[in-house]
Symmetry: C4
């Protein structure tokens, strides 16, 4: 058994960002959500169809078919999988947005810039309805393959394309699986208000980045509709959302919390699943204590009530 | 990050058919189904057992066992998997057709020509009961491996074998996973009225093929009984069908839609699953607003009400 | 597209037993089960723990862990998986047999000879309670790797070990996945009354073997408790059994059928699953129309009512 | 078919510990749990986050992402998976311990020493609340790769680190998947009171180790919350726990048993799953017959009532 480092077994030797296994622990901070709401519910609608990996784009592989797993060659157009993704952009995203508009819910779109270029009407509908457009990158890429400089350029390219397509500079970033060891530092330097590349907490928190404080609004995979892609059925997924909401609401009597729910137009935009989503929202609304929040709103509320420990150092 | 094409990031460089991520968007066309029905339900019965890949046919691999995944050599008869497929042809297809006849439901058979050659009585029963025989190809093949000329020959071989076995020329085509970049153009040239190689919409639509308009009647994997092959349980599958039907029916108050449900005799022809299917059909029938339609009927109704934008150019 | 054989596309070229995709079709034979019962329920208890592949036996691989899939080296004792299998022999088989004795159910044990050698008390308990001991082979082997002569020797070795351990010569055979192209012919020559290497029917049937008639009592994977090994939950499995039973019972009003349910002591012998099994049996018994039958009894009843078309030719 | 050993087919040739497929069989011993309780329920909380394999630690592979399976390179920090594991240590473990404290449940922590070093407050909370700290090793390792001497050193290193972090020497050991052929012998020589490297029984038992008797308190994978990691839904998991409890409770009228339930902070510490856990505990408590026991207590009670057959030989 090797001895890790000189002083002991923890922390691991450095290869990038330090790990923090402690966090808030048993005493998370108390935050007050607007209008006395106890639980913030953040729907994250992954608007990314059209940006997935495909031979048509010259990528090294076609994205696997989520509904019908099957080995498929990399150097052939996989028209089946392409078509399945297209459902999200052509049909599914409108069904979900229709539901949100009908029930008065605002959300954050984790949008790939190319997906908005492929279907500009979606970007307009998002902005018109008051949803946040958060950057999910340019296309599906693997940032750790780029190197620091090229990753910075890709971030800037994505920002420019968002400005071109929706006229808005995103304030947040959520990496398609997953960030590199440089991502957070680059995002901070580019002035992003927050990132969501974290699955390790129920509340926003600060991390030290380049001597400054950087805000993280954490996300989760558990309540993600991708759980239904060949893994669990819809009734189980709905039950999971309801249990998660009820448990967090109960805890929020003392320390208000955040429930993040990841959605994909190609999944939740299918009729059977939009039906599940409606049922969950109606349950949450029936309590009168849910705040359907954009992540930039969450970031602003949290920062206002819990400013970073020291003065924020301007970065170049 | 590379710049895709000269003008920007979308569309991807050409390697075959262009992608359309926009579709009807928020404003699908209004179609009136016969007899005031609001929702068209298209059962697609995949009559293909006997045509699956197997060492007995000299194929490069045995089809994997859907009920009991297990690595198996390619150069040995996998009598277990063969037998499991045979259940569909010997028993399952009759159980499903019996149910359809009992409840007055007509459907489209996605039939492989060789499967009908292996069990001619099934072809006769399909035709006698008024079901549509749509081509699912000759056998399970991978069209993208053939090249354009050989694929055209295979399409013509399949058509001839359908004429030999059921005396009918199919008007539609649905590729076993999945089409090549030539398939749609070849089908249009051969005079097919529609194809179902699409998963990207809730309604039929036209695409431009060789300067002409070609009708697509889209399909879906979501409500497919293959979801039950080691992925979700039957009760979850039934719940998914009921939710999908109810949601689409609600939407059909303004824009009537299409619900496609893929079935396989080796899956839905098992007693426990036929029981699920009966329960769904009885639910749909209880609303009095479902039209259990053949896909060629759907194509005809749609084309009559929404003729293609320009005159259809005869193809050779 | 190649032309299969000279005359057409079906049947496939010969590489062993001919395939039959037709079977009884829409008109299965009518069989009368004893005492006016309408539906025969055949529990097949796979008594095989201890015979699975393992490095301890010098096998080329350890059997994968069904409850916790994980790559594991072939040349190391996988004590975790071994222990998990042992549960079936030490605890699970007794819990299932206790339930059967409590509810008056008899079954067929698909027994590996080595599993009975490893735990002789199980063989005695099976025989004492009136269950059938059907051969599931000597150990878990892959018959297609042996060649015809060695496979015949392995069959004879297995028979001898059954005679040594339980004092009974098995009348039936069910191959561990799966039979070779020689298996059925060898079993017929050795005088077995039936085999269950088929998943393609709801009723027994004859196949021609070496110019004679051989009885097949088909099995199924659908209702197998292995479906619960990381695939579907227990409530879904129970629902599947109840639906299958109810559907087949309804059909049995005109043509009595057979429901086969595969069980494994390491799965169904776990307390939560024995609870599911009890609930199913009580449901079936409440109808008063189920016959919990041994497969040799089923074979005898069927053969008596539907003797093979011609006289059975003695084989050497 | 080879002849295994000289005398027959069982046992397998020796490559380490002998297998026992017989166990208690149909006649398990009768044990009386404290206070007339009929069923012992042992929650095993796997406190291991931070000790999983990762590139940050110089391991040969990153631990796969349990919530989002995806191939990932071995020589890159997988910050997504790291973050997901961190949830268990930062948030999840406190939510589960809060629940246990609220409902008066004590448990055994299967703790990796490095996980406690990474978050010392968790060790303190475990000890303060009266839970047992059982060794789950130093970090996630594969003991069979070490060799006997290095494995002994690793065991001693782990013990020292437990003494440093929580001030307690563990009395039990549970190997991260899985033990080597030397593990049990080494643990016995180091004076451990029991190990849980077994899945083959419902009650503790003795095995002969180096001429002495060694106590095994068996564990199970069936009721483990890892079943929910992409396999079955939460409602199915809860139903499984309730069925398992009810069945074992019924059996415990004559022979009291042990129900082991494995939990992981990164799974059961997610809000939706803590809700499931609460529901199960409340069900068990409502019977008034459950003893929520530490495994060292179970070992002590069993040993006192069923001392090993002969005098325990002191080991070096």
């Amino acid at each position: 058994m090797t001895d890790e480092g000189e002083g002991g077994y923890w922390p691991p030797p450095e290869h990038g960002p330090a790990r923090d296994l402690v966090g808030y622990g048993a005493e998370p901070p108390v935050v007050s959500w607007p209008n006395g709401a106890r639980l913030a519910v953040s729907f994250c609608l992954n608007v990314e169809e059209g940006s997935e990996r495909s031979f048509a784009f010259g990528d090294a592989a076609n994205e696997p078919n989520p509904d019908y797993p099957k080995p498929f060659p990399a150097d052939v157009r996989d028209l089946t999988t392409e078509s399945l993704f297209e459902y999200g952009s052509r049909v599914g995203v409108h069904r979900v947005l229709e539901l949100f508009e009908d029930l008065g819910v605002t959300c954050t779109a984790f949008a790939c810039a190319v997906a908005l270029a492929a279907n500009p009407s979606v970007g307009r509908r998002l902005v018109d309805a008051g949803h946040e457009v958060c950057s999910h990158g340019l296309r599906w890429t693997e940032p750790w393959t780029l190197g620091r400089e090229a990753e910075r350029d890709a971030i800037r390219d994505a920002v420019r394309l968002f400005e071109d397509t929706v006229g808005v500079r995103p304030r947040g970033w959520y990496s398609r699986y997953g960030p590199s060891i440089h991502t957070r530092e680059l995002l901070h330097a580019e002035g992003f208000a927050y990132d969501s590349d974290a699955y390790n907490d129920d509340l926003p928190y600060y991390v030290e980045v380049a001597g400054d404080h950087h805000l993280v609004v954490p996300y989760t995979m558990l309540y993600n509709d991708a759980q239904m892609a060949g893994r669990v059925g819809g009734e189980e997924w709905l039950a999971s959302l309801v249990r998660g909401f009820d448990q967090l609401l109960a805890e929020s009597a003392t320390t208000p919390k955040l429930l993040s729910i990841g959605l994909h137009p190609r999944f939740s935009g299918q009729a059977a699943r939009t039906s599940l989503l409606r049922e969950f929202i109606e349950h949450a609304q029936s309590t009168g204590q849910a705040w359907f929040a954009r992540r930039d709103e969450i970031a602003d509320v949290f920062t206002a009530q819990h400013p970073p420990p020291g003065p924020r150092t301007p970065t170049t």
